[in-house]
């Protein structure tokens, strides 16, 4: 299909310069297309390489075409060449038009479905990253509060890092959370893990946040850290119950 496109571009360009070159150019391009496609690697390669091949061949042949064109051009030839390469396909019949319309319609449906799916996924991502009521935002805020609490820093040592649940591939982005309704307001419970510079010491942060009726943002009801030592110890960072 690339070659058909290239051919069309070449045709358009040539018609502007001189119509007598048209016939010669087509012959030249046909021969060079054969040359270019002979090695399988060029074909399997990118369009750019084949374009380079063609443009290089085109440049080479322009000189020779100029020489030979003047001998072969004559009014009937010119007319024939123009009619052969300019009129294109004959006028499409009604059945052909219906088929074309049907095909275009199915393509349009496919494009719309694709756009819909893409838009949906992007909306989910934006909501997750930018909406202040998404678990990720609550996780960020909880981590910021926990990170700067002096007792936590004393227990774990700076710098403190946090992560969520481990998936199969080893990525730990998902944070375990539960959302539920209570007294007509949305509550969210969150659980993530923190580690500090203290070797081997892990902690679990539990938080519950309640949606504020006026502002719609989540406020923390409680926030505490379970330190994974023996005996287990909990650091209560916030308790707004």
């Amino acid at each position: 299909m690339a070659y058909a496109h290239i051919l069309k571009v070449l045709h358009r360009r040539l018609r502007q310069t001189a119509t007598q070159l048209c016939v010669q150019k087509c012959y030249v391009v046909h021969t060079h297309r054969a040359l270019c496609t002979a090695p399988a690697f060029v074909r399997l390669g990118t369009k750019i390489s084949s374009l380079d091949c063609l443009t290089a061949s085109q440049r080479h042949q322009v000189a020779s075409v100029h020489c030979t064109a003047r001998n072969r051009s004559s009014p009937e030839d010119r007319g024939k060449s123009v009619s052969r390469y300019q009129s294109g396909t004959p006028k499409p019949s009604a059945a052909q038009k219906v088929k074309d319309a049907g095909r275009d319609f199915t393509y349009l449906i496919v494009v719309l479905i694709g756009l819909g799916v893409t838009g949906g996924l992007l909306y989910v991502v934006f909501q997750e990253l930018f909406s202040s009521s998404s678990p990720n935002k609550v996780y960020s805020r909880a981590f910021d509060i926990v990170k700067s609490h002096p007792e936590v820093i004393g227990a774990f040592g700076e710098p403190i890092k946090c992560y969520g649940e481990t998936t199969r591939r080893g990525r730990r982005q998902q944070v375990s959370h539960v959302e539920y309704m209570k007294d007509g307001l949305k509550h969210m419970r969150l659980k993530f893990y923190i580690e500090g510079s203290e070797p081997g010491l892990k902690g679990t942060v539990h938080s519950e946040s309640k949606e504020n009726a006026e502002t719609g943002k989540y406020e923390f009801r409680y926030l505490f850290v379970d330190v994974d030592t023996y005996p287990r110890r909990s650091i209560i960072v916030e308790d707004n119950r």
Binding site: L44, N136, S140, C162, R171, V178, Y180, H206
Partner: protein, 171 residues
């Protein structure tokens, strides 16, 4: 539940690089097999030989470019995790954008930006898909309203016990 006794991060790079190579090699192998089959002269012998030849030549190259993409993405991701100190979807999207930009570095700044945008949007789509998947599969296993009270673990009871104690004092 600790499934990995060690940190995933530096080893995740090798993991991702290898996984990407396998994906690229297998996918590219299938594609090139069909392509080589179709672009060979007529005759099953010729076609099969053409197909095998195309796979032999091109599949490792495709696998290699996928592996470079995957390895670079994972490296930048781990680097961002270490830098920021937390693991976020933001890390993935930024890593995808930076990977796209770096791999297009030979074509100038404008192409780099376009490639970065493409990489970022691709990763955003993958993240969105992952988020949807985990949300819906988690909802299947979730019992409706597992707890209506504050957790009965020890830590919050400390707060409640303290409150009760203070209440008791004023009885």
């Amino acid at each position: 539940m600790e499934e990995y006794a060690r940190e995933p991060c530096p080893w995740r790079i090798v993991d991702d690089c290898g996984g990407a190579f396998t994906m690229g090699a297998i996918g590219g192998g299938v594609f090139q097999a069909v392509k080589g089959f179709r672009n060979s002269p007529a005759g099953v012998g010729h076609r099969l030989r053409g197909s095998v030849n195309a796979v032999r030549v091109r599949a490792p190259q495709i696998g290699g470019s996928f592996a470079v993409w995957g390895g670079l993405f994972s490296t930048i991701d781990c680097g961002l995790v270490r830098l920021r100190g937390k693991e976020d979807p933001w890390n993935s999207i930024t890593s995808g954008a930076l990977t796209g930009a770096i791999l297009a570095a030979r074509s100038g700044p404008l192409t780099m930006m376009g490639s970065a945008m493409m990489g970022g949007i691709l990763l955003a789509l993958i993240e969105g898909f992952g988020i949807l998947l985990t949300r819906y599969t988690a909802q299947q296993f979730q019992n409706p309203l597992p707890f209506t009270e504050d957790p009965s673990q020890l830590p919050p009871k400390d707060g409640e016990q303290q409150q009760q104690k203070t209440k008791g004092l004023f009885h």
